[in-house]
């Protein structure tokens, strides 16, 4: 793993978040190389969203530090924010603005050059053309997700953070979004960090998976490597082993069961 802040898109050191008696994130350290797709995987309360919040500067860490694209986020996060973006189903765009108006406002906030051209480009690629001048509140959930993705890509970010990017979407639209994200990463050489519960999504998109439980990183590796390590058939089984605290003991048990069945 490369730990140089110059080459890592994300670098977290001893990141901790304490809420009164509860420790949401417990001294985690990790780095994410540029151009990769990494997934934060964990059950509810594992600390994924808090970790994303601390990376973005929305939550102040109790301890530890964050470097995004080489910039220390505790010192001057605004120096790097124009190179980053974020999408979450829990954050919305103003519903009374049209899709085009929303993209225009965020394009100006990010100082996007040739903004009109960029909006047309995104509208084509994300299939927003038919409802570009419709109020955002009057389009479907799937269309809203595509618009939110348009906002997240408006500044062609070098680092894109995504919180459950395909939550509440039908499988077709979800798959399409994943294809677009992968396509964007390849075209731009961008780094993607996503928090997700969707195992298929993680298996398909991520080069690397960080598994979290109770605010700690309990394992990390490529999806295939994790499946092999735990002796399971799918990432979902691995997730269940980790979430239920079976860990590698569960993997041994699974291997024994498999042998017995054979």
């Amino acid at each position: 793993m490369n730990t140089s802040p110059r080459t890592d898109a994300v670098r977290a050191l001893g990141l901790t978040k304490q809420y009164q008696a509860a420790r949401a994130v417990d001294g985690i350290s990790f780095s994410i190389p540029q151009g990769s797709i990494t997934a934060l995987l964990g059950g509810n309360g594992a600390g994924k969203t808090t970790t994303l919040g601390m990376l973005l500067g929305l939550i102040l860490p109790t301890a530890g530090s964050v470097f995004l694209l080489g910039q220390d986020m505790s010192l001057d996060r605004h120096r790097v924010l124009h190179r980053i973006n974020f999408q979450s189903p829990y954050v919305a765009l103003p519903l009374s603005l049209t899709v085009r108006q929303n993209l225009r406002v965020f394009g100006k906030l990010y100082g996007v050059p040739r903004l009109g051209q960029r909006i047309e480009e995104l509208a084509q690629e994300l299939d927003l053309v038919d409802f570009l001048d419709r109020e955002t509140g009057k389009i479907s959930a799937g269309q809203k997700t595509r618009v939110a993705l348009g906002k997240a890509l408006i500044n062609s970010p070098e680092l894109l953070l995504l919180d459950e990017p395909t939550a509440s979407l039908d499988p077709d639209t979800g798959d399409w979004i994943r294809t677009q994200l992968d396509s964007y990463r390849k075209a731009r050489g961008a780094t993607l960090l996503l928090a997700s519960h969707n195992m298929l999504e993680v298996e398909r998109l991520a080069d690397d998976v960080i598994m979290m439980k109770s605010g700690r990183i309990v394992d990390r590796g490529a999806p295939a490597a994790l499946i092999q390590k735990y002796g399971r058939e799918t990432l979902e089984d691995v997730f269940l082993d980790v979430a239920r605290g079976r860990g590698l003991a569960g993997a041994s048990l699974a291997a024994e069961e498999k042998a017995e069945t054979a």
């Binding site: 929305l58 939550i59 605004h78 100082g111 077709d172």
Partner: protein, 306 residues
């Protein structure tokens, strides 16, 4: 899905960043374009809904009508006294003038309230639409965000108050603009006080969530009896007079009464109000910054609007 639906699957994945990557955004510590973007965002909201535009004028109009008719009633009573009481000219002057001063007070009070709400409404738009996190992770700085809401406050006040002052001339023969240069000084001071309160209440909402929204609507009215909007400061008990003189609007309303009744414009009152306003705005800015930092510590920014 609503309306016309095109299957996204029918669109082949393209290179979402390739053409554009050559022209990347650059870092700028302060950007008027970002302030303009936020102003544009709020103008879009206003333009999208005629009830919102109507709402801007609704309360000021109601206030004008209520107090305008009261002024007319007081004027009629003055005439009645003048005709029935020997030597009633003095009473006429006092009562008639009181009615006119009340109308001036109402209009200036509306400047104060609309100045605060003009800022707060823009802020609340972001809370209601769950857009705040999008803004906080964008390059928009706190200063730029605040400046955009100040700009919208001025715009909203002008849209809501200017037509009302024109109506006051036609319907009640009261010309607020006749206060001349004094009106400019009153306006600046009232807007500054409104902004100080708006910045503070916005910080409280950001820190404590929508449960604190009530403060936005009510806090100014707590100050109303102390600002001596409709009566002179010397009406208050002595200990409350000290409190009143700590509030800039008190100087404005006293100044307006002097200008209306004695044609005397007191610059010293306006300068004192301005000085207190500078202190209040500075304190509000510090409080806002601390409340945002506190919200970041408690993690409440992640759950805004939920």
């Amino acid at each position: 899905m609503n309306g016309t639906v095109s299957s996204p699957s029918s669109v082949a994945p393209g290179s979402l960043g390739s053409d554009h990557s050559a022209a990347r955004p650059r870092y700028r510590a302060f950007s008027l374009e970002r302030v303009g973007a936020m102003v544009l965002r709020y103008v879009y909201v206003l333009r999208s809904s005629w009830p919102r535009l109507l709402e801007l004028m609704y309360w000021p109009l109601l206030q004008l009508l209520t107090w305008g008719f009261l002024q007319q009633y007081l004027g009629q009573q003055s005439l009645h006294q003048q005709s029935s009481v020997p030597g009633g000219a003095l009473a006429d002057g006092a009562l008639g003038m009181t009615g006119r001063v009340l109308l001036g007070s109402v209009l200036l009070w509306e400047v104060l309230v609309r100045g605060q709400l003009g800022f707060n409404m823009s802020f609340l738009e972001e809370m209601w639409s769950r857009n705040m996190a999008n803004l906080l992770i964008s390059p928009l700085s706190r200063l730029e965000f605040v400046l955009s809401m100040l700009s919208m406050s001025v715009l909203r006040v002008l849209v809501s108050i200017v037509p009302i002052t024109v109506l006051a001339i036609f319907f009640f023969d009261y010309n607020l603009w006749s206060l001349g240069v004094g009106l400019g000084a009153f306006f600046v001071n009232l807007m500054m006080t409104g902004w100080a309160l708006a910045i503070l209440t916005s910080g409280l909402v950001l820190r404590n969530g929508m449960g604190a929204e009530g403060l936005v609507w009510s806090m100014m009215f707590v100050l109303m009896p102390l600002c001596c909007v409709f009566y002179p400061v010397n009406v208050l008990p002595p200990f409350l007079q000290h409190v009143a003189w700590a509030l800039p609007p008190t100087y404005v309303f006293e100044g307006m009464r002097l200008l209306s009744t004695q044609h005397l414009f007191r610059w010293d009152l306006m300068l004192q109000a301005f000085a207190i306003n500078v202190v209040l705005l500075s304190l509000a800015a510090v409080a806002f910054s601390k409340l945002v930092d506190s919200a970041r510590r408690t993690g409440s920014l992640m759950s805004i609007g939920e």
